[in-house]
């Protein structure tokens, strides 16, 4: 029986590149003198950190879409919920340093004339609790939502549409001041995280490195899940759901498990994103955001785990460049990219690269041996 080692060639490559990213960026920012060609300016560090968080989000979508065939168009919601959990912690860390100087209540509550902290804010001043909520809130929503959807055997495009509705509903809810989460302004004006000033260069470097580590950990976790028998069942569900059922697998349990796991990964991505960009507001729930994530995955290569990381980094770098140079054309460019990839690179950048590699190595082999290569039975 062929056993797939967790640390195959692709995993080693991904981990090496991430390790290089974790070392080079701080080095180029801190050690290279400003003005030298190697210097990375301060504002680029949180930008790169943001991309890395997006890559983790893309990875979480690939786990369910690429392996189990569940196309979630609402993963931005889990990302935003993780972000809000972190944002609530950061708000509580402001303490009396807010504009209104209230030691307990965040500014927006003072502004709304609230006298007491709402019950669901309790505990968020304690980091371990907030960190737990980063996982539990998205995970619990995924469990409840998924339980209803998968039990009723909602699949395919219908599932995708209700995930859009879910994130849209959450956006509307979070826009309301009554939610007690800052309304349309969201949560911002953060001061400290675990006692370190959020704006400081060293904190930003640390957050960036943590994001890269989270991405590496997320990648390894997904690789392990995909390589296990559980992962094989997921692919079986994707390719022949009823066959899997008649083999005796409870398909809805598998979908629920992987959906919740994926939502928690997305939550971690959101939690790391918020201190780096300094704000979380309801626009993170916008349905278009979730669709964009799917484009990153498709561009990078669905079902490859490494591809979505590449896709998220490339598309977001493109977005940064485009929105500065030709802001009106960004959405057209994104749309055309998606159409192009769907038509000409259905397996994404990574899939196309693999095909190219296989073809060229085959050619090389054919040139070395004058005899035609016969594909006899293995």
């Amino acid at each position: 029986m062929r056993t797939h080692s967790l640390f195959d060639r692709q995993t080693n490559l991904v981990l090496s590149l991430l390790a290089a990213a974790a070392i080079l960026v701080p080095a180029m920012n801190g050690l290279a003198p400003p003005g030298s060609a190697l210097h990375l300016s301060d504002h680029l560090v949180p930008l790169l950190g943001k991309y890395v968080c997006f890559a983790l989000l893309a990875l979480s979508v690939d786990l369910i879409w690429g392996f189990c065939g569940i196309l979630s168009l609402g993963h931005g919601a889990f990302f935003a919920l993780g972000g809000y959990a972190m944002g609530m912690y950061l708000m509580r860390q402001i303490g009396p340093r807010g504009v209104y100087g209230d030691p307990i209540l965040p500014d927006f509550m003072v502004f709304l004339n609230w006298k007491e902290l709402p019950w669901f804010w309790y505990g968020f001043d304690w980091f371990p609790f907030a960190a737990l909520m980063v996982l539990l809130v998205p995970g619990a929503l995924a469990l409840v939502f998924g339980w209803f959807a998968f039990r009723s055997r909602v699949t395919g495009v219908y599932f995708s549409i209700i995930t859009q509705a879910m994130t849209f509903a959450l956006m509307l809810a979070f826009f309301r001041n009554d939610m007690g989460l800052g309304g349309n302004n969201g949560l911002t004006d953060f001061k400290e995280i675990l006692g370190f000033p959020v704006q400081a260069g060293s904190t930003r470097i640390a957050l960036y490195v943590l994001s890269v580590l989270a991405l590496a950990g997320g990648y390894l976790l997904c690789r392990w899940v995909a390589g296990s028998t559980f992962g094989k069942v997921l692919v079986a569900v994707r390719d022949a759901e009823s066959r899997t059922r008649f083999l005796g697998y409870r398909v809805e349990h598998y979908k629920l498990a992987v959906f919740a796991l994926s939502a928690m990964l997305a939550g971690i991505a959101g939690a790391l994103y918020v201190p780096q960009v300094g704000i979380i507001n309801p626009s993170e729930f916008a349905p278009a955001n979730s669709i964009e994530v799917v484009i990153w995955v498709a561009v990078g290569g669905r079902g490859t785990l490494a591809g979505p990381i590449v896709g998220a980094l490339l598309v977001n770098a493109g977005k940064t460049w485009f929105t500065a140079a030709l802001p009106e054309f960004w959405l057209f460019a994104l749309g055309s990219l998606f159409v192009f990839v769907t038509l000409f690179m259905p397996r994404g950048i990574l899939g196309a690269a693999r095909d190219l590699w296989e073809r060229s190595s085959q050619k090389l082999r054919a040139r070395r041996s004058p005899q035609p290569v016969t594909h006899a039975a293995e």
């Binding site: 028998t229 559980f230 069942v233 059922r245 083999l247 409870r250």
Partner: protein, 250 residues
């Protein structure tokens, strides 16, 4: 409620399924013994596939009884629970996991714990390897072991799916048109394989190919408009005037 004592493995009584007024099954009754092989024939729309859907839990009947081993009420269970009781099903078009290797297809079908946690933490044991080796040998796919199931020929896929059924170690196998799209030699081999399986397990075969049914040499049930039209040896059934009229023709 006391369960009726039935010596039979599968017992369908008065099973009726209607879709929007159309009666796919109309008071169907059928009994299958332990280690019995039964061929089901009948024209299109006679209710053959619906009957399999009822037995495997895909469709709930509007009325009637479906008992397995005399005690398990199949109408109250879902597909996964019924599979676990020991009923395996092969679809009409071969349905295998195309992206998985032949070996992994069998691995997923092996009788094992089916829960998410169990599969996440499972370690492949040597025992499993031996079981897979034996199954590969039986369905003649040893040489294809590491190929993707999607690359197999139609006949090989049919056999792989039968292999997956055997891996489940079921007590009853439901096999829908195993000979469809096969060469004559493959058809004959499939009949041999099924006869061999039926030595220890109950098998229900739905088939249109009369040569194949004759090859099996078992009791035949002819369905028509959702109920049993005739039952007996193939010769007796083919001599039945109603069967000739609605199914065999001329």
């Amino acid at each position: 409620m006391t369960a009726p004592v039935t010596p039979t493995l599968l017992y369908l009584d008065n099973v009726t399924v209607s879709f929007d007024g159309f009666r796919a099954l109309n008071a169907l009754s059928l009994a299958i013994d332990h280690a019995e092989m039964r061929a089901i024939i009948g024209p299109n729309g006679a209710g053959k596939t619906t009957m399999m859907d009822v037995i495997t839990g895909k469709t709930q009947p509007n009325e009637g009884t479906a008992l397995f081993e005399g005690t398990h009420d199949l109408t109250a269970l879902d597909e996964a629970a019924i599979a676990e009781l020991g009923i395996g099903r092969k679809f009409q078009t071969p349905t295998v996991f195309e992206m998985h290797t032949v070996e992994d297809n069998l691995l997923l079908a092996l009788k094992n714990k089916r829960g998410p946690l169990a599969t996440l933490l499972s370690r492949r044991a040597n025992q499993e390897r031996e079981r897979i080796d034996a199954l590969l040998e039986r369905v003649r796919l040893t040489a294809q072991r590491h190929r993707r199931a999607g690359e197999l020929s139609h006949g090989q896929k049919q056999w792989l799916e039968i292999g997956m059924l055997l891996a489940q170690e079921p007590k009853l196998l439901l096999i829908d048109e195993p000979a469809a799209g096969m060469t004559d030699q493959e058809t004959a081999d499939t009949a041999d394989l099924l006869r061999d399986i039926a030595k220890s397990k109950a098998v229900i075969v739905v088939e249109h190919d009369m040569t194949f049914v004759r090859d099996l040499g078992v009791k035949v049930t002819c369905l028509h408009e959702g109920s049993v039209l005739a039952e007996g040896s193939l010769d007796a059934v083919s001599a039945n005037e109603r069967v000739v009229e609605v199914y065999l023709g001329r």
